[in-house]
C-alpha cells in the first residue's frame, strides 16, 4: 500500500514538473529560463556538496573537478551513443530521453569513481590539509582536461556537430533530477548512515571509539557527493554549446562553498536556498560583475564572523517551521 502511494506521489511530482516546464517555456524568454535552469543545477551541486562538507564535516573545496568529470563524460558518451541509439529508437523524444539520462548516469558513475580515487588518500587528513588537498585534486583534474587533446583540450569539447552539443537540458530534466537527488540525500541524511556521518562531524575520534567505520563512511559519502556533482555537470554541459576546462576553475568550487555556507552548513533546505540564491544573485549582479566576487568574499567573511551557521545552521526548514507549532521531537523511523 505504501509503495503504491509513493509511486503515485512520484508520478504526480514528475507530472507537475512537466506541466511547469510547459508553462515556463512559453511564458519566459531564453534569458530567464537559463537562470531557472542554473538555479536547479546549483541546487544539485549544493545539496550534494552539503552531504560531505555539511553533514559529514569534511571540508572539500575542489568539487568543481568532479563536476568537470561528470560534464565531460556525459558529453562524450552522449555523443558516442547518440548515433546507435537513434538508429534503434528513432529520432523522437524517447530516444533523446534515453540518450540523455544514460549519458548523465555514466557521468555520475565516472564522477563517483573519481570521488573514490580522490577520497581514499585524502580523507585520512583533517581540516585544513584536507581542504588544500581537495583543492589540489580539483586543479589537477582541470589541468588534465586542459591537456586532453581528444576532449578538445583548452578549447573544450563540442561534440561532432559544429553548432555544439545537443541541448538536451530543459526544465523538466533539471528539476526531475533535483527532485530525485534531494529525496535521495534527504533519506540518506535522516537514516542510520546519516546519523553516523553526523557523528563523524561532531567528534570523529569519539565516533571511531564507538566502532563506526569512519574512513569507509567518509569515502562513501565523498563518492556519492562527487556523483551528484557529476549529474550537475552533465546537465550543465548540455545547456552550453560545449564543455570547457575554464568552466570548472577554483571559482566554481568557491561558488559551491558559498552556496552551502549561506544556507547553513549541514542543512539540505539551506543548500537549496543557497543554490537558488547564487543563481539569482549572479544574474542580478551581472552589471556589477566586477564587484560580484568582492561581494561574495565579503559575504563569506561577514557570515563567518557574525553568523557562521548561515541561514538555517544544521536544521531543516521543516524543523524550523514545525518548532513554531509543537516542541521538537527526534525524527522517526530508521
Amino acid at each position: 500500500m505504501r509503495l503504491a502511494l509513493r509511486l503515485v506521489a512520484t508520478l504526480g511530482v514528475l507530472l507537475a514538473i512537466y506541466g511547469l516546464q510547459f508553462g515556463l517555456e512559453h511564458g519566459l524568454n531564453d534569458y530567464v529560463q537559463r537562470i531557472v535552469l542554473l538555479a536547479g543545477i546549483n541546487i544539485i551541486l549544493a545539496v550534494g556538496l552539503n552531504l560531505i562538507n555539511g553533514t559529514t564535516g569534511q571540508f572539500s573545496i575542489g568539487h568543481a573537478g568532479f563536476m568537470a568529470v561528470g560534464a565531460y563524460s556525459a558529453a562524450y558518451v552522449g555523443v558516442r551513443i547518440a548515433g546507435p541509439l537513434h538508429g534503434v529508437l528513432g529520432q523522437g523524444v524517447l530516444a533523446n530521453a534515453v540518450i540523455f539520462n544514460a549519458a548523465l548516469l555514466v557521468g555520475a558513475l565516472f564522477a563517483g569513481i573519481s570521488g573514490l580515487v580522490v577520497g581514499m588518500p585524502s580523507l585520512r587528513l583533517r581540516g585544513d590539509y584536507l581542504a588544500v588537498v581537495t583543492l589540489g585534486f580539483g586543479e589537477i583534474i582541470r589541468i588534465l582536461f586542459n591537456n586532453a587533446t581528444f576532449l578538445g583540450a583548452a578549447t573544450g569539447y563540442f561534440g561532432d556537430d559544429p553548432s555544439g552539443l545537443p541541448a538536451y537540458t530543459n526544465f523538466f530534466w533539471v528539476y526531475a533530477w533535483v527532485a530525485v537527488i534531494v529525496v535521495l540525500i534527504h533519506n540518506l541524511t535522516f537514516s542510520q548512515t546519516g546519523r553516523s556521518l553526523i557523528a563523524i562531524r561532531e567528534d570523529e575520534i569519539a565516533a571511531e571509539a564507538m566502532a563506526t567505520p569512519t574512513t569507509r563512511l567518509k569515502v562513501t559519502a565523498f563518492a556519492i557527493s562527487a556523483a551528484t556533482a557529476g549529474i550537475a555537470g552533465g546537465l550543465f554541459a548540455h545547456m552550453q554549446a560545449g564543455v570547457r576546462p575554464e568552466d570548472f576553475r577554483f571559482e566554481k568550487s568557491i561558488d559551491m562553498v558559498v552556496m552551502i555556507i549561506v544556507g547553513g552548513l549541514g542543512s539540505i533546505s539551506g543548500a537549496i536556498f543557497g543554490g537558488i540564491f547564487l543563481a539569482v544573485s549572479l544574474e542580478l549582479m551581472r552589471d556589477l560583475q566586477q564587484y560580484r566576487l568582492v561581494l561574495y568574499a565579503l559575504l563569506l567573511i561577514v557570515i563567518m564572523i557574525v553568523r557562521p551557521q548561515g541561514l538555517l545552521g544544521t536544521r531543516e526548514l521543516h524543523h524550523v517551521l514545525r518548532r513554531r507549532a509543537k516542541p521538537a521531537r527526534p525524527s522517526g523511523d530508521a
Partner: protein, 305 residues
C-alpha cells in the same frame, strides 16, 4: 647541459621567492594552526606597492634617460613595500582572524578563503586586471657563465632571500620576540599562562611574514617582467605547498621546500611540458601528505583527545 643548468638557475631563483613567501605561511600556521590563504594576496599587494612607490620616486624619468635607479631609492622602495604589507597583514589578522580565533577549525578556514578572494578581486578593481610592466628598480645586467645566462636580478634574489632568511633565523633564535613565537607555536595556552602577550606576538608574526612576502613580491616583479592582481593565487598556493613539504612550522623547512618546489616546477616546465608546471606542485603536495605528512624537516605531532 647548458639548458639543464639554465633551468636549474631559473628554478632556484623562483624557489627563493617561494621560500620567502613560505616563511610567512609556516610561521602563522605554527602558532595559530591556520592556513593564511590571504598571504598570497599580501605578496601581490607588496609587489604593487613597490611599483607605485617606484613610480612616485620618479623611476619613469630614470628609465627614459637610461640611467639606473639609484640604490638608496631602490632600498627605500623595498622598505616602503615591506612596511605596507606588514600593516596589511596585521589588519587582516585583527579584522578577520581574531574574531574567529576560537571557533571550530572550519570557520577560520572559510574566513581565510574569503579574505583571499576579497583581496584578489579588490586588487583587480584597484590595480586594473591587466598585467603591468614592472619598473626596473634594479637595472638588468646580463652575464654568461658556461653558456648559462645569469642576470644580476637573479643574484639579487638569492642574496636578498638569503639575507632575510638569516635575519629571520637570528630573530627567532636570539631575540625575545622570537622566543615568544616559538613558545606560542609549542603551546599557545601555556604561553598565555606564562604572561606572554599573545596578541602582540601574533601581530608581530603576521607583520614579519607579510614583510617577507612583500620583498618576494618585488623580486618576483623584477624577475617576471609583469605583475597582475591574480599573481598571488597560484604563487601563494605553491609557497604553501613548499611550507608543507619542508615541514609546516619549521623555518629551515620552508626554505628547503621553497627551493625544491621551484626546481620541480622549472624542470617540469622545461622537460615535460609547461602545461603541467602547476600540476606537479599539487602532486608533490598529495605525495608528501600521504607519505610523510609532517614534512621533510618537520616533527610528528600527536593529536590528543
Amino acid at each position: 647541459m647548458t639548458q639543464f643548468l639554465q633551468q636549474i638557475i631559473n628554478g632556484l631563483s623562483l624557489g627563493s621567492i617561494y621560500a620567502l613567501i613560505a616563511l610567512g605561511y609556516t610561521m602563522v600556521y605554527g602558532i595559530l594552526k591556520l592556513i593564511n590563504f590571504a598571504h598570497g594576496e599580501v605578496f601581490m599587494v607588496g609587489a604593487y606597492t613597490g611599483l607605485y612607490a617606484a613610480s612616485a620616486l620618479g623611476i619613469d624619468a630614470f628609465e627614459a634617460s637610461g640611467r639606473s635607479f639609484p640604490l638608496y631609492l631602490a632600498l627605500l622602495v623595498l622598505v616602503v613595500a615591506m612596511a605596507a604589507a606588514a600593516v596589511l597583514g596585521v589588519l587582516i589578522e585583527f579584522l578577520a582572524y581574531r574574531p574567529v580565533r576560537n571557533a571550530p577549525r572550519l570557520t577560520p578556514l572559510i574566513t581565510a578563503i574569503g579574505v583571499s578572494l576579497f583581496l584578489q578581486n579588490a586588487g583587480m578593481l584597484v590595480f586594473s586586471p591587466n598585467p603591468q610592466r614592472y619598473p626596473a628598480i634594479l637595472r638588468e645586467v646580463r652575464f654568461e657563465v658556461l653558456g648559462v645566462i645569469v642576470t644580476n636580478i637573479k643574484l639579487t634574489i638569492f642574496g636578498v632571500a638569503l639575507a632575510l632568511m638569516l635575519g629571520l633565523h637570528l630573530l627567532v633564535q636570539k631575540t625575545w620576540t622570537g622566543r615568544a613565537m616559538r613558545a606560542l607555536s609549542f603551546n599557545i595556552d601555556a604561553a598565555k599562562l606564562m604572561g606572554i602577550d599573545t596578541n602582540r606576538v601574533i601581530r608581530s608574526t603576521f607583520a614579519i611574514g607579510s614583510g617577507l612576502a612583500a620583498a618576494g613580491g618585488i623580486l618576483f616583479g623584477l624577475d617576471q617582467i609583469t605583475i597582475n592582481p591574480l599573481m598571488g593565487v597560484l604563487t601563494g598556493l605553491k609557497a604553501f605547498v613548499a611550507a608543507v613539504l619542508g615541514g609546516i612550522g619549521s623555518i629551515p623547512g620552508a626554505v628547503v621546500g621553497g627551493l625544491l618546489i621551484g626546481l620541480a616546477e622549472q624542470l617540469t616546465a622545461g622537460y615535460l611540458s609547461p602545461a603541467y608546471r602547476d600540476a606537479i606542485t599539487f602532486l608533490i603536495l598529495i605525495g608528501i601528505l600521504l607519505l610523510k605528512p609532517e614534512g621533510l624537516l618537520g616533527v610528528v605531532r600527536v593529536e590528543k583527545v
